[in-house]
Amino acid sequence: MSAGAHRISRSTPSSTAGLAVFGGLTVALATLPTWDPERTLQSPLVLVLIYLSLAQMWNLLAGFAGLVSIGQQMFVGVGVYALLTLAEDRGIDPYLSVGLAGLVAAVLSVPVALFAFRLKGGYFAIGTWVIAEVVRLLVIESDSLAGGDVRSLTRTSLGGYSRDARDDITYWLALGLAVGATAIVVLVLRSRLGLGLRAVRDSEDGARGLGVDVTRTRLVVWVLASFWTGATGAVILLHSPSARADSAFSVLRWTALVIFIAVIGGVGSSVGPILGVLVYWFIDEQLAEADTWRFIILGTVAAAMAVVAPKGLYGLLQQWRPVQFFPVRRRLVARDVPMEEPA
């Protein structure tokens, strides 16, 4: 059989169906403000979508680039304080500032990488945590940022928008970030960059030998994830318009919970964080206000999963019935040729 009789395909019937379901869901969620006027679903969903965005970015770093960061709260906090500075102090439109806040986080991530990339594995994790602490302490010490005090977005920056418009735009931004984060993971996986990442993940030396620029590949992903995490941080401030450095740079809220969500759903797949955030949502609904128990339950489940089911719920699902939700895996298929081999 000639080579032309085969082609590389990424889509399967289930991935086509998966994309259709995902697209339909996105459209349904985007029009939510019109069919949920009381906002019974819309307001809790904002935080769920924010967590999905953060979890996908952590997943991209830890699951594909081998960068297990415990310093993501740094970029969330920088996004929060960038938005406060741009919108509140400089009078730039707050919604326009979300993208700028992401840019600030991306710019900061380059010098951070200069230090953190010298460490590997578990020490990289603690190293990013230290740097996040440094940034938090600097924000608290800074007179102009006043991170030690409670600061909020006030009428000066939000005055041009009605309350309803603000709620809707914040919701759409959160949705855009969550869907966009998922799309980034899928697109990165389909790209040459993703191929390089997976080669690095499986064997760093092997990938180097094949000509993958390991540091550059990791840096690109690191900066991209930092941008997205910073922009998400800005939306976190829009959602609850006051912050202190301790809450904006909280390792428990913006990194621990995010890690638990990603791990429970499944690190290293594009669908895992979606499953994880649904579990988080379900548990959160049962718990009302008990913050401690949320951490105890999700932390225990995540730690147990890491030992017994390292691929998370998505991995368990795959064991039970292998389905592909997104067209990311390359397969060799015959082109217009009967499947039976000639004798």
Partner: protein, 293 residues
């Protein structure tokens, strides 16, 4: 307070930091294992001492006789039944399990003991000091902490270099596969190392609790300081860990002398910045061999 005094207090504080770091350094040295719950375990030990002193009506120093063995057994079991299953070429499972454990410990402590600050009362030793000059005084308790750290590190060094168990530890560190061929049970080595790591961090936690008040959320601070001492000293070097702790202690004490907005924070910030400087200019640490990070 003069600069000289700040430096002296920093050296003494460094003893505590070295105790924070010992277990991390040992576990990384022998089995490349990074325990992110290390700091929360120190705080857990301090709370165990609070409960022990209250229940048995004893001195915090006497409570060490309960807390340290309990923690050592916990370390042995944790390694044997949980941590060992995560050791492999991929560092992710170990990070996830220990990070999750740390968050769970922290929140269980919060749930059980509340967020109020606690302290351990060791009596007169806490306030007594030796006056060296008009400006410089050395507290008995900080001195005891430093001496303890040195004794622990000397003892560990002797165990590693002189005993059969230490030889097994070093062999497992150098080449686990060959060590196994020589009849060394690496799982047993790992469990014993983690028992020692938990015991030293328990000691550190109780000393921290005597030195100052503490709350359930302070575990990460202990972890970060211990980690910084390990990296500054050089990965895998126990003496480096002692020096790293002392250098970090001096940096924090001197940082506290600098007058900035929130002066309680500046010492910690100085310590972090020193760590970043070492990472930038001498990533192998002061006593580390090249290419081990």
């Amino acid at each position: 307070m003069s600069w000289v005094n700040a430096a002296v207090q920093g050296v003494l504080l460094g003893g505590l930091f070295a105790l924070f770091a010992t277990g991390l350094s040992l576990a990384f040295g022998v089995m490349r294992f990074v325990n992110l719950a290390h700091g929360d375990l120190a705080i857990l030990a301090a709370y165990l001492a609070v409960s022990t002193t209250a229940t048995l009506d004893v001195d915090p120093f006497v409570s060490l006789l309960v807390v340290v063995p309990v923690m050592a057994v916990a370390g042995y079991l944790a390694q044997r039944f949980v941590f060992d299953r995560t050791i492999g070429p991929d560092p992710l499972p170990a990070i996830l399990v220990t990070f999750g454990l740390g968050v769970v410990i922290q929140n269980l402590l919060l749930e059980h003991y509340s967020a109020d600050s606690r302290g351990l009362d060791a009596g007169a030793i806490e306030t007594r000091s030796i006056r060296l000059t008009d400006d410089v005084a050395v507290g008995w308790f900080p001195l005891l902490t430093l001496v303890c750290a040195v004794v622990v590190l000397v003892a560990l060094q002797l165990v590693l270099s002189r005993t059969r168990a230490g030889r097994a530890f070093r062999a497992t560190s150098d080449d686990p596969d060959t060590a196994q061929l020589m009849g060394i049970d690496d799982r047993s080595v790992h469990a014993r190392v983690m028992a020692i790591a938990f015991a030293t961090v328990a000691l550190a936690g109780v000393f921290l609790g005597i030195r100052q008040t503490f709350g359930p959320a302070e575990g990460p601070t202990v972890l970060l300081v211990g980690f910084e001492a390990v990296v500054i000293g050089g990965l895998g070097s126990l003496w480096g860990t002692l020096v790293g702790g002392i250098v970090l202690g001096v940096a924090q004490a001197v940082g506290n002398q600098v007058d900035v907005r929130y002066d309680l924070l500046s010492g910690v910030l100085f310590g972090h910045l020193l760590f970043l400087a070492v990472l930038a200019f001498r990533p192998q640490g002061l006593f580390g061999r090249k290419g081990r990070a």
